[in-house]
Symmetry: C2
Subunit: 120 residues, 2 copies
DNA sequence: GTCGAACTACGACGATCTTCGTACATTGTG
DNA sequence: CACAATGTACGAAGATCGTCGTAGTTCGAC
């Protein structure tokens, strides 16, 4: 109870500092179709979304796992709002650490329309 | 034996067409430190290098494996010259398929000096 | 306090990945 | 031809990954 005056309670997110974001970890995190989809949707303007709002084609435990991988890689920032876990892209941090990388990946993902979108 | 008039004999490289290069496969291939190092060295101007010239800290079989992953992902082009297997980055193909992606990764790799270079 | 909603922790399973050694193939040289 | 150099094919062993179900936590509403 150390002054939790906000709606955001004291749970432990564990985000890496910008300077400690590792390239291999970022690339590895982005090499999964579901995680790439999450990042894609977050980049589409839906800045803050709860995990459930993505309607991913996997179970909730798996969903939690993917969000954690993205968070620990330094790609997204997460915080609680009520019982919901909100996610946001760390666009600026990534731009500072690896300039042009995230935009290039997002543009590439938009072009890679090999498979239309059966992951609804 | 169908007209092998070149110094390049009839071995089967198996390269994907530019249009069939898949983003997730590229990112996955680049998320390994050894493969990232290979790509980094190829991007440094050493355009055509034999596998052995990289002096990777792994066995020959492992080396073959990593080069194959890069080739099947569409990142490098390989061809034989004598008993040596030469490798070259598919810079233009990648630029056509995913504009800006490879340069961004190479720049990021250059910045990611978390670990100096103990993989000599 | 009780209940449901949203999410997490933990263990488990199967698939894939990285690595290696050994055996083999191809080329160039003597 | 024999031989060395370079690289591949084929398992095999161990690690990691993606997925899930079940049980538990936290929050908001009643």
């Amino acid at each position: 109870m150390t002054r939790t005056t906000r709606t955001t309670p004291a749970r432990h997110p564990e985000h890496p500092e910008t300077a400690r974001i590792r390239l291999e970890e970022v690339l590895s995190a982005l090499s999964d179709p579901i995680r790439l989809r999450i990042v894609h949707e977050l980049g589409r303007g839906h800045d803050d979304m709860a995990c459930i709002a993505f309607e991913l084609p996997v179970s909730k435990s798996t969903s939690t796992h993917h969000f954690r991988v993205l968070r620990e890689a330094g790609i997204i920032h997460q915080y609680y709002e009520g019982t919901s876990r909100m996610s946001r892209l760390r666009t600026q941090d990534l731009e500072e650490r690896f300039p042009g990388l995230l935009p290039a990946v997002l543009r590439a993902r938009a072009m890679d329309t090999t498979e239309p979108d059966r992951t609804t």
